[in-house]
């Protein structure tokens, strides 16, 4: 991927992010942060390649460390966000 293409993606995604996130109400800002933590765990896909490729021993173990840390973010982030969000819906469930 050329640098310019990468930069294009970056700039467009930032604008899109700003548009989408400004619509999130303050009530949901904490779940938004934990949810975006999970999304920033996307580093995982870079880590997966590093950990699984047959490289130098050091590179492999750096990759394994990265996989573990990023997986904590992904699994922990999505789970805790779900836990919080289901609290916001709890009244509706009781009413039914």
């Amino acid at each position: 991927m050329t640098f310019l293409l990468a930069l294009t993606l970056f700039v467009l995604a930032v604008f899109l992010g700003v548009e989408v996130i400004t619509k999130v109400p303050p009530t949901l800002h904490t779940p938004l942060m934990s949810g975006s933590n999970a999304i920033s765990g996307i580093t995982l896909i870079g880590a997966v390649v590093s950990a699984g490729a047959e490289q130098t021993v050091l590179a492999t173990w750096l990759g394994v460390g990265a996989v573990a840390l990023a997986t904590i973010n992904v699994v922990g982030g999505f789970l805790v966000t779900n836990r919080m969000l289901s609290m916001f819906g709890s009244r509706k469930k009781r009413d039914r």
């Binding site: 990468a6 109400p25 800002h29 920033s40 765990g41 996989v67 840390l69 779900n82």
Partner: protein
């Protein structure tokens, strides 16, 4: 960097779309659970298609990493208390930053092994990732320690000059990598500078400014992932990372506006000083009216509209459930009860809403500052629990005050204000609050939870 296969590309486009739709789902409580699930699905798609990468030859180390991460992440997510959410998010921010540093470190070693000179994009992006990721990691660890209160709120005074110098050194080192793209020493030095900068940047920041810091570190963890994407030539890392970067930046901005401070002011100067405000004795002497739970119950019994303004003191006192019981009792009595939530009411953006939601208080009763302010004049009783600076009318009235211009909840405009507080001690801004001495204010001194329980009990007997 090898090109991604068509399957991987297609998977990444799908994942990016799911992330965006997932974040969009978070714009309404009703669709938020589904949005979160879409984000998680996007992540699963991304990981599964990545596993088809032909560079992946061994799976056992990979399995160890995934297993350890899933177990630790699962335990953290299910065990955390809602009051501890800021600490957990701080920790996750840090892990994200460190993961990016490790990924870039691994691919740096790979490039070095192959022997070719890396591209300029790789070299610069790897340097940027090392710096941003390291700052995010050490800064988050310090933020986490401060939130747990294992580290004092104030380490030492403003060291903005030092931070500026460290940052400039980091940038200079990244520029230097262009001359020596395979130098391990340079990359290690960049990481070291980043680690020091994270510590020195966050340590002087006071407890009240933590919502800004967490939001900013959130943004940096996204930017670190995005920079990793530039280094690896990975489109999904760039897109997902910049979405998170934008999200954190917006939250940082919202928090700064709510505290009436610029980001530079939070990062590079000391917390607002207590000078410029009136003397506490002058404000309070002979004017403070103290009340009892029985009196408050009598007032509440005839109230038609009650507003409750919670501050972080409510969470510290674990009073959420007592407040819920009070709300139910008042509603059974025919009163309308709403909650006025200041944007910085908790220790991270939206924290108070989560704490009240956990106590099964309907989110539709949680009213934002701008929406509730015009209604205080029609409110019979406003109960302030564990909040101080965010209800200080000085912000509106005294242009010389350290909190002048800070958006506040206009509780002083309601007919009667009941303030539940341990003492007349000042809040984070360190200034007295004339609200406590106002004619329409009654002070109920004591522990937040006990006071609400007592009011509840008295209300049953009215």
């Amino acid at each position: 960097m090898e090109a991604q296969s068509d399957l991987i590309q297609a998977g990444y486009i799908l994942a990016a779309a799911l992330f965006i739709l997932g974040l969009k789902g978070l714009s309404k409580p009703r669709t938020a659970v589904r949005g979160n699930a879409m984000g998680a699905t996007g992540m699963l798609v991304a990981v599964v298609v990545t596993l088809t990468d032909n560079r992946i030859l061994t799976f056992w180390q990979l399995g160890i990493g995934l297993l350890v991460g899933a177990v630790v992440g699962g335990l953290l997510a299910t065990r955390v208390q809602m009051t501890g959410m800021p600490e957990l998010v701080a920790l996750f921010n840090g892990f994200g930053g460190l993961a990016s540093v490790l990924v870039v470190g691994a691919s740096f070693l790979e490039v070095r092994e192959v022997g070719d000179d890396p591209t300029t994009t790789f070299t610069l992006a790897a340097g940027a990732t090392a710096l941003i990721g390291a700052v995010t990691f050490s800064g988050s660890v310090i933020a986490w320690a401060k939130l747990r209160e294992t580290l004092g709120a104030y380490g030492f005074g403003a060291i903005g000059g030092v931070n500026g110098l460290l940052f400039a050194t980091g940038i200079a080192l990244i520029a230097a990598t262009l001359g020596a793209p395979t130098s391990v020493a340079l990359i290690v030095a960049i990481v070291a500078i980043g680690l020091v900068l994270g510590v020195s940047g966050v340590i002087p920041i006071g407890g009240a400014d933590m919502p800004v810091v967490i939001a900013l570190l959130n943004s940096l963890s996204g930017l670190a992932a995005s920079a990793t994407g530039f280094a690896l030539g990975n489109s999904l890392l760039i897109i997902a990372g910049s979405l998170v970067g934008a999200s954190g930046l917006i939250l940082t901005q919202i928090m700064c506006v709510a505290m009436n401070r610029s980001l530079a002011n939070v990062l590079f100067s000391e917390a607002p000083s207590s000078t410029g405000g009136a003397d506490a004795d002058e404000v309070y002497a002979g004017k403070v009216t103290s009340t009892t739970a029985d009196e408050v119950a009598l007032l509440l019994d005839t109230a038609e509209r009650v507003a409750i303004v919670p501050g972080y003191g409510l969470a510290v006192a674990q009073a959420q459930h007592a407040v819920r019981d009070l709300t139910r009792a008042l509603e059974a009595n025919g009163a309308e009860v709403v909650f006025g939530i200041h944007p910085v009411a908790g220790r991270m953006p939206g924290h108070m809403n989560v704490l009240l939601a956990e106590a099964e208080i309907d989110y539709e009763k949680l009213i934002e500052m701008d929406a509730i302010n015009p209604t205080f004049a029609q409110t019979d009783i406003t109960i302030v629990i564990g909040a101080n600076d965010v209800v200080n009318p000085v912000a509106r009235e005294d242009p010389d005050s350290p909190i002048a211009g800070m958006p506040i909840l206009d509780v002083d405009r309601s007919r009667t204000v009941v303030v539940i507080k341990r003492s007349l001690s000042p809040g984070f801004a360190g200034i007295p609050n004339p609200l406590f001495a106002a004619d329409n204010t009654l002070m109920l001194f004591g522990d937040g939870k006990q006071a609400v329980v007592d009011i509840n009990k008295a209300l049953q007997e009215v």
